[in-house]
C-alpha cells in the first residue's frame, strides 16, 4: 500500500491530505491535522471569568465567536440574562468578524479556484497576481476588511482578540458619534458588496458548476431563530431534504452529537452522519426568511445545479456579509443600543454546567463547561464548525479522488484537485485543532 501525503495550500492552519493507494486504486483520502494544542486540557482549573480571555486565542479568525460562546456558557451557569444593549453590540462584533473572515477567505483562498475551475484566469496562483487581477475587486475587498477591523476596534477595543466581551455583558456603551461612524461604515460595506456580488453573478452565474462539487443528500445542522437569519440565538436544528426539520434546545445536544475528550472529532448519534454540514449553506437552507428583497433578487440568478453544489457556499458567504451589514444598520438605529445598563453581576453559580452556542462564520460553535465549588472549570467540551464538517469533506474527497485517479492515473492532479473541494468548505484548522 502506498501512502501519499500533501500539505494543503491556501487554507487557514496546518492541514494535510493523506491518500492511500492500493492495487493501483485509491482506497481512502483523508483531510488531517498535524498539530493539536490541547485547550480543553489546560483550561481545566481556570476561573470562569478568566476563560473568555483565553479562548479567543483558539483562533485568529473566529476570536469574537469563541469569546461570545464562552460568555454565553458562563452566563448559563450563573443563570443571568444580559441587557438588550449588550446583545445588540455582540451581534455587531460578530458581524465585524464575519466580514473580515468571509472576505479574506473569498479573495485569497477560494477566488483563485473559481477563476481556474471556470477557465477565467489561470494566472492567479500568487497573492501578487491576485491583487492585480481586478484592481476594483481588490479595493472593494480591502474596503470590507478595513470595515471589519474598524467595527471590531470601535466596539471591541481592538481588531482581533477583542477586549470588551465579558460574561454578563459588554464593557462598552457607544457614543452617538461612534454609532454614526459605524453606520457609515456599514453603508459603505453594502456598496462594496453590491459591486462584488454583481461581479460574482457576471463571472459565474451563466456557467455550470462541476459535478465533483455536487453535495450528497445533506443533513443541515445549525442554529435557527424561528427560521430567521440570526447567528446569535435560537434553537439547534437538523434538516434533511424532504423531511421535517427537527429542532432541539442546546441542553439536549448530547442526544444528537457528542465527543470523548481524549478522542478527536465529533460523534453523531443518527444515520448518514457523513452527510452532516454546518456553515453558510446550512444557514441558507434552514432559514426561511433569508435577508432582504435584494438578496432574493440576487439568489434568482442561480438555480438547482448551483444551489446543490458546495461551490455555492462562496456566493452565500457574500450574501451573508450583505445581510449582516444591512442588519447592523438596523441595530445601530435601535434605541436600545444607547440605553446603558449595568453589567450583570455574577453572584452565585446556579448550575453545575452551562452551554453557550452560536453560529460562528463557519458554522455552529458550542462551548459546554462544568464548574466546581470554587467557580473553576472542572470539565469542558468544545464543538467547532470545521470538526462537524470533517466526515463530509472526507467522504466527498475520497469519492472524487477514486474517480479522478481511475480516469487519469495522475496522483498529482488528485493532490491538487481535492484541495479545491476542501477549500470550498473554508476550513478553520486552528479552531478544529483547539
Amino acid at each position: 500500500m502506498l501512502k501519499v501525503i500533501e500539505v494543503c495550500k491556501r487554507v487557514e492552519g496546518h492541514g494535510e491530505i493523506k491518500i492511500l493507494v492500493q492495487n493501483d486504486e485509491i482506497s481512502l483520502v483523508n483531510f488531517e491535522f498535524k498539530i493539536y494544542r490541547g485547550f480543553e486540557n489546560f483550561l481545566i482549573g481556570k476561573k470562569l471569568l478568566d476563560i473568555p480571555k483565553i479562548v479567543p486565542r483558539i483562533c485568529g479568525l473566529c476570536y469574537a465567536s469563541q469569546a461570545i460562546a464562552s460568555c454565553k456558557a458562563i452566563e448559563d451557569i450563573y443563570n443571568i440574562k444580559i441587557s438588550e444593549q449588550a446583545r445588540l453590540l455582540r451581534r455587531i462584533l460578530m458581524t465585524g468578524e464575519l466580514i473580515k473572515s468571509h472576505s479574506m477567505n473569498f479573495f485569497f483562498q477560494t477566488l483563485p479556484d473559481l477563476l481556474n475551475i471556470f477557465n477565467i484566469s489561470q494566472k492567479t496562483t500568487t497573492a501578487y497576481d491576485l491583487i492585480n487581477y481586478d484592481p476594483q475587486l481588490t479595493s472593494n475587498i480591502y474596503e470590507l476588511i478595513k470595515i471589519g477591523n474598524e467595527i471590531n476596534n470601535l466596539f471591541g477595543g481592538r481588531s482581533i482578540h477583542l477586549i470588551s466581551l465579558i460574561p454578563g455583558g459588554i464593557i462598552y456603551s457607544p457614543s452617538k458619534k461612534n454609532i454614526s461612524i459605524a453606520k457609515k461604515r456599514f453603508q459603505n460595506a453594502l456598496i462594496s458588496l453590491e459591486w462584488i456580488i454583481e461581479k460574482f453573478i457576471e463571472l459565474f452565474s451563466h456557467q455550470l458548476p462541476p459535478k465533483e462539487f455536487d453535495a450528497p443528500n445533506l443533513i443541515y445542522l445549525g442554529l435557527s431563530n424561528l427560521r430567521n437569519y440570526n447567528r446569535y440565538s435560537g434553537r439547534l436544528s437538523l434538516k434533511e431534504a424532504n423531511r421535517n426539520m427537527i429542532e432541539f434546545e442546546k441542553q439536549n445536544y448530547s442526544s444528537y452529537f457528542g465527543k470523548e475528550p481524549e478522542l478527536r472529532g465529533i460523534d453523531f448519534y443518527f444515520d448518514n452522519k457523513k452527510n452532516v454540514i454546518v456553515g453558510p449553506l446550512t444557514r441558507y437552507n434552514i432559514n426561511e426568511n433569508y435577508g432582504t428583497d435584494e438578496i432574493q433578487t440576487y439568489l434568482e440568478y442561480f438555480d438547482k445545479p448551483w444551489t446543490n453544489n458546495i461551490l455555492f457556499a462562496n456566493f452565500i458567504r457574500l450574501l451573508e456579509m450583505y445581510i449582516e451589514s444591512f442588519q447592523s444598520i438596523q441595530i445601530l438605529d435601535d434605541h436600545n443600543l444607547t440605553i446603558k445598563q449595568e453589567i450583570s453581576s455574577l453572584n452565585s453559580v446556579k448550575k453545575i454546567d452551562g452551554i453557550g452556542v452560536i453560529e460562528a462564520p463557519r458554522g455552529t460553535l458550542l462551548h459546554h463547561y462544568y464548574v466546581n465549588d470554587h467557580n473553576s472549570l472542572d470539565g469542558i467540551k468544545l464543538f467547532v464548525a470545521t470538526e462537524f464538517n470533517i466526515p463530509l469533506i472526507n467522504e466527498m474527497i475520497t469519492n472524487y479522488a477514486k474517480v479522478l485517479f481511475e480516469r487519469t492515473g495522475d496522483i498529482n492532479l488528485v493532490k491538487n484537485n481535492v484541495q479545491r473541494i476542501i477549500r470550498a468548505f473554508d476550513p478553520c484548522i486552528s479552531c478544529a485543532t483547539h
Binding site: 495550500k9 494544542r37 496562483t125 497573492a127 454578563g168 453589567i343 486552528s430
Partner: protein, 252 residues
C-alpha cells in the same frame, strides 16, 4: 530591487498572519516586495532563499525545529511575528505541550510582539522592513504612558487578590483614574513593554502582558515584581497568570 519575503506559521491561532493580511497597507506591501512563500494565501510549495522571513507561532513539535534551522540558512534576516513566536505565547499555559519561542532554536534578528501585534505598531514595523531598516520598539514599560491619571502605586499594604475586576466594577478609563494595583487588582503593566496604546486599560481592564516583557531577562524581572507586591494566597495558588504569554525558563 524588491526584497524577497517568506512568511511561515508554526503552532498558532493564525491571528498574526490574518492581522498582516488585514493591514490597510497589505496590498501595497505585496506591490513593493516579492512574497515568495506564504502558505495561507499562495500555492507556492517550496521555500527559497529570501531577504526576510517572518515566523508566526511557537515551536511545539519536533519537526518545527528542523524547519527553523533550514529557513535560518535560507533567510538573511528572521523576525519573530507575534507573542507566540517571540515568547512562546498562550500555549505556555499547557503542561503537556511545549511552547517555545523560536529564538530558543535559532538566532533571530528582531521581534514584532503582541497577541496579535497592535495594528499601528505592526504597520510601522512592516514599512521599516520593506525599507531595509531595523525595527524599533519601545524600551519602556506600560506605566510611564498609562492613561490612568494616578501614578503607578506599588504598595505592599495592598493585598492583590484579583486578576480582573468584577464585571459590574469595570469602568472605562475616563471614569477610572486609580492604578489597578492600588485597588488590589493585578496589572502586569510594570513588567510589560509599551506599544499597544493601553487598549485593555482604556476598556477598564488591567494589562495581561500579551505584548510581552520589556526586558530580555523576564524571569528576574518577574521575581523582582513578585517581591514588591503583596499577592493573595489564592492568586499565588492560581496557575497561569504571569506566564500566560511567555513561560519563564530558568535555564535561560
Amino acid at each position: 530591487m524588491k526584497r524577497k519575503f517568506v512568511i511561515i506559521s508554526l503552532t498558532s491561532c493564525s491571528g498574526c498572519i490574518s492581522s498582516l493580511i488585514s493591514l490597510d497597507i497589505f496590498p501595497q506591501f505585496l506591490e513593493r516586495t516579492k512574497v515568495i512563500y506564504f502558505q495561507f494565501i499562495s500555492d507556492v510549495k517550496d521555500i527559497e532563499d529570501c531577504d526576510i522571513c517572518l515566523v508566526e507561532g511557537c515551536v511545539s513539535e519536533e519537526d518545527q525545529i528542523s524547519i527553523l534551522r533550514k529557513i535560518r540558512k535560507q533567510a538573511k534576516k528572521i523576525y519573530a511575528l507575534g507573542t507566540c513566536a517571540c515568547f512562546g505565547g498562550i500555549l505556555s499555559l499547557s503542561d503537556i505541550k511545549i511552547a517555545e519561542p523560536i529564538s530558543r532554536y535559532i538566532e533571530i534578528d528582531g521581534i514584532i510582539p503582541g497577541c496579535p501585534p497592535p495594528m499601528k505598531l505592526f504597520g510601522n514595523c512592516l514599512i521599516r522592513l520593506v525599507e531595509n531598516k531595523e525595527i524599533e520598539l519601545s524600551e519602556k514599560n506600560m506605566c510611564g504612558s498609562c492613561p490612568l491619571r494616578g501614578n503607578m502605586e506599588i504598595n505592599s499594604n495592598v493585598n492583590i487578590s484579583k486578576i480582573t475586576p468584577n464585571p459590574e466594577e469595570i469602568k472605562l478609563d475616563e471614569e477610572n483614574s486609580e492604578c489597578f494595583l492600588a485597588k488590589g487588582i493585578l496589572c502586569l503593566g510594570p513588567i510589560t513593554r509599551d506599544g499597544c496604546e493601553h487598549k485593555c486599560i482604556k476598556m477598564g481592564l488591567p494589562c495581561e502582558g500579551c505584548i510581552g516583557t520589556v526586558s530580555k531577562d523576564f524571569t528576574s524581572n518577574l521575581v523582582n515584581y513578585l517581591s514588591l507586591i503583596n499577592l493573595s494566597q489564592e492568586l499565588k495558588n492560581y496557575t497561569g497568570i504571569f506566564y500566560r504569554f511567555s513561560k519563564p525558563k530558568l535555564e535561560g
